[in-house]
């Protein structure tokens, strides 16, 4: 009686998990099927299969440019974020631990202020005058830094707490290293994992950012998402190939982060 009940329970849970998987898979699967079908309209299944759409996409110059520009902006933003956040974290945790409380409030701002709100101010502040940046990739790099900040700060901060920063620094000092040397040669290598995981994850959502890209820059420096939006009226199959190609990249980066995270240090 009891065993039968547990068995029924186990079956129920498996069913729910598979159902969840299929719900999440459905839009992706449909887009993938659409991207490899020669034509598909007003029927449940496509008429024939082909890879032509991918060939067309990957030989389209405007797509390749948008792709490269997306990569450049994301990598630029991540580089800026690393250069700004690593010293910040080190100084906060080593010299001013009390600032951590303030930082935890500040990093809520990118959550509480949606990109569409920041855009209102950014467009006015940097639209003209000495700091005119609207329409250039530079403003995107700055804006993307604020999006990546909360994730990178939290991930690396957790990592810093786990390695016992103060003891490491004291040991390095006792052995005669300067603070700079200790920070670069002792602390930094220990943060590699947290840093890499947060970089991969940040990349995978910055790569899909649309609001800032569309409102601040638009077609003047077209990124992948803006390109997808502007191609709205072209062939659905072509766009499907675009979406699947984009998601494939996101998949690779998320997968890398998950793998890295599971690895034992």
């Amino acid at each position: 009686m009891r065993a039968a009940e547990t068995k029924r329970g186990a079956l129920y849970h498996r069913m729910v998990v598979w159902l969840l998987f299929f719900i999440l898979l459905l839009p992706l699967a449909a887009t993938f099927l659409y991207s490899i079908s020669s034509s598909w309209s007003a029927t449940i299944l496509p008429d024939g299969l082909t890879f032509d759409w991918y060939l067309q996409l990957w030989s389209e110059e405007r797509f390749l440019r948008a792709f490269a520009q997306s990569l450049l902006v994301c990598l630029g933003a991540l580089a800026l974020a690393v250069v700004l956040i690593l010293p910040l974290l080190f100084v906060v945790h080593y010299h001013f631990p009390k600032l951590d409380g303030l930082m935890n409030i500040l990093i809520l701002l990118p959550f509480a202020v949606p990109p569409v709100v920041s855009s209102v101010g950014l467009l006015q502040l940097y639209g003209s005058g000495p700091l005119a940046m609207v329409g250039t990739p530079w403003i995107l790099i700055g804006a993307y830094f604020t999006i990546a900040l909360p994730f990178m700060y939290r991930a690396i901060s957790n990592n810093l707490q786990a390695i016992n920063l103060r003891d490491l620094m004291d040991a390095a000092h006792l052995l005669g290293a300067s603070t700079w040397k200790a920070a670069f040669l002792v602390v930094l290598p220990n943060l590699r994992k947290g840093l890499m995981v947060s970089l991969f994850l940040s990349f995978s959502f910055l790569f899909g950012e649309f609001v800032f890209a569309n409102l601040l820059v638009g077609t003047r420096y077209e990124t992948l998402q803006v390109y997808l939006n502007n191609m709205k009226n072209s062939s659905g199959h072509f766009n499907s190939a675009l979406v699947i190609s984009y998601f494939f990249f996101v998949l690779v980066f998320t997968w890398a982060a998950t793998r890295l995270n599971r690895e034992k240090p």
Binding site: R14, V17, A42, L88, V116, G121, G208, V211, L215, Q225
Partner: protein
């Protein structure tokens, strides 16, 4: 149990005794240099996060004839803007509710299946959490648009008469989809708080499944559930890309209204956009505050 604690106290005492001497020797210059290292971050954070918010706050009070609350009076006196607020709240509420219910059922079952299936579906769910915005909207057009595969399938099966993805119902379905992975991500760890022996004790004392959840399971999970719900709400309220792509800015929600007044060709009005943006920030602020309070409560409840 007491030995490691004593040990820790001892090392802490030694460390604290030793550190000030080292620190004293290099304190003045080191601290100034350290503060200098904070400067670049402070400059960029101010330029791209604080300054835009300040500009919006100030200019929401700025009108053609001086400083006043007129912009806000206009927002709350206009049926059009009130409808945008109402739509935003409705879509956010329903999509968060459906999203969290699916996430609760899903993440509870995820804990009960074997680890191979669990790891696979968890990893997949994490990946789909990045499938949002424009690509997601596009995928939904293929799936549930007027000639979408699923629309036709459901129509032929006689389950639905018609489905309009570009309506409020359609948007709620779409938003629910992107809430699910986030909900699973946030809720899955929360089920750690439920210990298996509680369930066994409850059933020994004669509690059925229903009373177990009613008196033990749900009360323990409540702070985590509310916290997750609040994050989902904020996530939906600020969403812009999906609805923009689907309706080319024709569906009346807050982010669309704001963006239309700063990037449209017809009605540029940054001051009015600022006032609407402040309404959105106000809603998000209430939500973030509620989340922080709930987080603090769940933290203590968890200890």
């Amino acid at each position: 149990m007491s030995a490691p604690l004593e040990d820790n106290l001892k090392t802490a005492a030694i460390r604290d005794g030793a550190v000030p001497r080292i620190a004293d020797r290099r304190a003045p210059r080191g601290k100034w240099l350290a503060l200098l290292c904070l400067l670049p971050f402070a400059v960029f954070f101010f330029a791209f996060q604080i300054a835009p918010l300040l500009w919006v706050t100030l200019n929401s009070l700025n009108t053609a004839d001086g400083w006043s609350l007129a912009n806000f009076e206009k927002v709350f006196g206009s049926k059009f803007y009130l409808q945008a607020i109402k739509h935003s709240l409705q879509i956010a509420f329903w999509s968060s509710l459906f999203g969290i219910v699916i996430a609760i059922l899903g993440s509870y079952s995820l804990r009960q299946v074997d680890s191979k299936l669990r790891d696979f579906v968890m990893a997949f769910s994490n990946m789909t959490s990045n499938f949002a915005g424009v690509p997601l909207a596009f995928a939904f057009v293929i799936l549930l648009g007027f000639n979408g595969a699923l629309t036709i399938l459901l129509k032929q099966a006689g389950i639905i008469e018609d489905f309009n993805l570009y309506s409020k119902t359609g948007l709620i379905v779409l938003y629910t989809y992107f809430q699910i992975p986030l909900g699973v991500l946030l809720l899955y760890p929360a089920f750690d708080a439920l210990r298996e022996d509680w369930r066994e004790s409850a059933s020994l004392l004669g509690a059925g499944t229903w009373s177990y959840w009613r008196y033990i399971g749900l009360p323990v999970l409540t702070p985590a559930l509310l916290g997750t719900f609040v994050i989902l709400l904020a996530n939906a309220l600020g969403a812009y890309a999906t609805v923009y792509y689907l309706t080319t800015g024709n569906f009346n929600v807050l982010p669309i209204r704001i963006a239309a007044m700063i990037s449209g060709d017809i009605s540029l009005d940054p001051n009015m956009a600022s006032a609407l943006a402040m309404v959105l920030v106000g809603l998000m602020g209430v939500i973030t505050l509620a989340h922080q309070l709930l987080l603090r409560r769940s933290y203590h409840a968890g200890r």
